[in-house]
Amino acid sequence: MDDSDDRPLAAGDPLLAVKDLTVYYGKALALDRVSLHVNQGEIVSIVGANGAGKSTAIRTISGSKQPSAGEIWFDGRRIDGMPPYDVVRLGIVQVPAGRQIFQTMSVLDNLKVGAHRRKDREGIKRDLDSVYEHFPILKEKRNQAGGELSGGQQQMLAVGRALMADPKLLLMDEPSIGLSPILVAEVGKIIKDINSRGISILLVEQNARMALRLASRAYILEIGRIGLHGKCDDLIDNDEVKRCYLGG
């Protein structure tokens, strides 16, 4: 890989910068000149209704979907057009919607897939211990098939698998979907905890209440465009946000 065009991340530069990102699904415009950024150490949310383009944004940043225009910069390097298996090496790791764990593979193998591209055996071992420490149930069930875990445990496995890739930025696509309210709160705690270890997080959520409570800043996505954005404390008090996303 040629690094000559890349510049080191200067102080004050965002970790992730998305500029005028435009994405089509066939002929349908999914994202229309979307710009957003995530600073080092931040939790940022993208909130929006079903079909607003939230998942498309995540999928395009991780490289699963190719944009037709715009730029994505990460850690001083332009990454749009890069395949997902290279993007992950830079430290952008996605926790996909619906958890998408490998159902018939053991819990341990699921976690090892997360570390596929890493060579640092010591670091992998340390991160595995750390995942087990945070989610003891995964250690207990490490030889069971991933599909045998409950929904909440599968979410832990999906997060654990992503942590095994040694992320700088975690992209979380609807982590609360299909979970009971108690588990949603649990996932919220996990996100805070991961963030406290220095990992930045871009969180996509239909559950606006959860997203705005966790994040420091948020972008409201309306049918492919960024509507409002700003500090979550301000957004929570915004009348339009209250009416549209927080149920009054």
Binding site: Y85, T104, M105
Partner: protein, 291 residues
């Protein structure tokens, strides 16, 4: 009683060839989702190449086996790079990859006639001798085949279940898009799997060569049986391939002794019945392959 034991022994011998063949095809089917009907020809080519190296160059049998494995591996890699890689990106990839595989199958089947002629081949004298145990006539060449077959199967399981490459193959088989999110390049895994799968077919042919006669129709003859084995065991299960291969080996061994040509019909009926009650096969998980 000794007849039954003899049939069981012979069924195990050919069964282990089937196990390796079915295992290779299961890898190709579950990982690449290409319905690879050319697979039988790689088996035939493996056998013929082994024969050629031993017969013409007077080289050691294991040298012939090694050449057969490398050659079929290279065929498989080339086939993927030249033909399937592009086809896999197409909208109608399921049908078009079958068509591609059919084309490869025809070419390889004809090429063997052109290169080696129509005379049946054999490699006598590699493993000689025989002994009787409890009325069962055990030829050393079959015993050698059984031993090597078991070793190959164990090695394959170790690679698939215990190594990084095997894990990547399993992950891509389950969900290539998600595997890519964690650093696995699905196209590289498809390429590798096609190479390994074809090399397993070549290896099976090479293992068969000292113990049985080779004919130019053996590739065509075996492909239907191998597809049936994978359906019986489950198209995404390596263990299923082992079970399927061993069962089919026994059915054909006993069937041919007691019912002659009808044995293939009974095989179809038996597997049809199993699939009727267990659509995923005995040990498989999914039926949506390639769709």
């Amino acid at each position: 009683m000794s007849v039954i034991m003899q049939l069981a022994f012979d069924g195990l011998t050919i069964g282990l060839i089937y196990v390796i063949l079915a295992a290779g095809l299961v890898l190709i089917l579950s990982v690449t989702e290409i319905f690879f009907v050319a697979y039988g020809q790689f088996y035939m080519w493996g056998a013929y190449i082994t024969w050629y190296v031993v017969d013409r160059f007077q080289l050691n049998y294991f040298a012939g086996l090694a050449v057969a494995i490398v050659a079929t591996l290279v065929f498989g890699l080339a086939g993927y790079l030249l033909i399937f890689m592009r086809m896999q990106r197409m909208e109608n990839r399921f049908l078009i990859t079958i068509t591609g595989a059919l084309g490869i199958s025809l070419i390889l089947a004809q090429a063997v006639l052109v290169v080696f002629g129509t005379q049946p081949k054999s490699i006598p004298g590699v493993f000689t001798g025989a002994f009787d145990v409890g009325g069962v006539h055990i030829e050393v060449k079959k015993l050698a085949l059984i031993g090597m077959g078991i070793l190959v199967t164990l090695a394959l399981f170790w690679i698939y279940e215990r190594t990084r490459v095997g894990r990547a193959m399993r992950a891509v088989a389950l969900n290539a898009d998600v595997a890519a999110l964690y650093g696995i390049n699905p196209r590289f895994v498809y390429l590798l799997t096609m190479g390994i799968g074809c090399a397993l077919a070549g290896l099976a042919g090479g293992l068969l060569a000292p113990a049985y006669n080779l004919s130019s129709g053996m590739g065509n003859n075996v492909i239907a049986s191998v597809l049936l084995m994978t359906m019986l065991g489950g198209m995404d299960s390596l263990l299923g391939a082992v079970v399927g291969g061993l069962i089919v080996g026994q059915i054909l061994s006993f069937g041919q002794y007691y019912t002659g040509q009808m044995s293939v019909v009974y095989l179809f009926l038996f597997i049809g019945l199993v699939i009727y009650f267990r659509p995923n096969g005995l040990l498989g998980h999914r039926t949506d392959m390639g769709v």
